[in-house]
Subunit: 134 residues, 2 copies
């Protein structure tokens, strides 16, 4: 496949594909002249990458789930990411509850409200960063 086909199949612009290759997330199998050639299974890989990105993982995180250079994936790493997602989901649920509470709480200062106070410990202590998806 040439880059345009991969782009179409994956929904990603070719500039992104080149960038991903440069970062080692995907690889082209050769060149025809200057032009990259890809094997069809790269589309699979890209789907998984997009899934990871949609979940907020960084490209560096995502590259963990790919083994050295084969088309295989590291299933253990994948499950680990799934577990991380579980935690994130739990955290977001608590935050959502916090927001809903703040919306109805009568206390002038939310700090007078124990329900809210409990929630606040969530924010501020997480030092991992969500990653952009423009």
């Amino acid at each position: 496949m040439d880059i345009a086909e991969v782009a179409k199949a994956s929904g990603l612009p070719s500039s992104t594909l080149r960038y991903y290759e440069e970062k080692g997330l995907i690889q082209s199998t050769g060149r025809k002249g200057l032009r990259r050639l890809f094997k069809a299974d790269v589309v699979d890989r890209l789907a998984l990458i997009s899934l990871g990105r949609a979940a907020g993982f960084s490209l560096a995180d995502i590259s963990d789930v790919f083994t050295a250079n084969g088309p295989q994936i590291n299933r253990a790493a994948l499950l680990e990411k799934a577990d991380e997602l579980d935690k994130k989901i739990a955290e977001l649920s608590r935050i959502r509850n916090g927001l809903r509470h703040a919306a109805v709480c009568k206390a002038d200062s939310h700090f007078e409200c124990p329900t809210f106070l409990r929630l606040l410990n969530i924010a501020g202590k997480s030092h991992h960063r969500p990653k952009p998806r423009w």
Copy 2:
């Protein structure tokens, strides 16, 4: 309160407080010499801001929940954000399921697997962006 007190109470560096003020998210009530003075309730506001940031909302999004310049909050906007979070949580849950599935699926290409295919429509179509929390 002076900026150092607010910083301590909120857990945010003073550089961030100045930045937030510049962006209109908080306001100082006056100056003593050059130095900013804050009312105590700014700490409340900051807690809410941190909560929003932890949830992945941008500062622009967060400023929606603050009314013009008073210390009040826009409860409707807050509930709206909570609803957005619900959606995000649902999406993340689906993605997590997708990851778990990819970890166990035997198919060489996940594209041969309907379970996985269904999941993929999730990724790639969301064009809102999570925001960094360094």
